[in-house]
Amino acid sequence: MRVLYFAWVRQRVGMAEEEVAPPETVRDVAGLIAWLSARSPGHASAFANPRTIRAAVNQDFAGPDHPVAANDEIAFFPPVTGG
């Protein structure tokens, strides 16, 4: 599973992307956030307030209940501010 981080989520986690292999109990975006939060103080800081985090699964916006699987590309980032 490939995980990407953008903007201040990337800065707090301390990396732009990583390959992870969470246990099978991690089935959705919310579960992945909980699992990633335990990986480092940086991860914990990035995901401290899940309300400020948005996610995409395979490049589509995805809510906390969206399923995640081994070959997915998952991205975490703040609310977007383009335009």
Partner: protein, 151 residues
């Protein structure tokens, strides 16, 4: 209608992009454009734009197709710059062409409202005093996008 979508560090050329949508054709009656620029609010040194390569282009292509379904568009161009941009620099260009003016004007407003809330770009402001902060999403941008939702 195949939209032209570009994410780039380089500046864009409004005149050239406009000419590209109308060159050699005589069915375009209206061409609407919006250019968003980097304002120099109180000591801003630069705006740094980051995006999600791949998802950005997909998301913009999808919304351009949605616009083409809602309005009879003859052409549509979206160019969004990324990287470090000084105050005064153009950041984003939306161009829409249609046979009638209302379709061009409305779809242009629709696309720029959507880009503020639906495309994976993030802005960081760098200040003259060396500090930096990520721009926070605005409730008014969500409201602007929401007004285009089907009733």
């Amino acid at each position: 209608m195949t939209p032209r979508i570009a994410i780039q560090e380089a500046p864009f050329d409004l005149g050239a992009e406009s000419a590209r949508l109308t060159a050699g054709r005589t069915d375009v009656g209206g061409l609407a454009s919006f250019v968003g620029l980097c304002r120099a609010d109180d000591g801003l040194a630069a705006m740094v734009l980051e995006h999600y390569p791949g998802m950005t282009e997909r998301a913009i292509d999808r919304i351009a197709q949605e616009a083409a379904g809602r309005w009879p568009l003859l052409g549509c161009t979206v160019i969004h710059r990324v990287g470090r941009l000084p105050p005064g620099a153009p950041i984003v260009l939306v161009l829409t062409a249609s046979s009638h003016r209302a379709a061009a004007l409305e779809s242009c407003a629709f696309l720029i409202d959507w880009l503020k809330t639906g495309a994976p770009f993030w802005k960081r402001e760098e200040w003259a005093d060396g500090t930096a902060r990520w721009v926070e999403a605005k409730a008014e941008d969500d409201a602007a996008t929401a007004r285009w939702a089907p009733a």
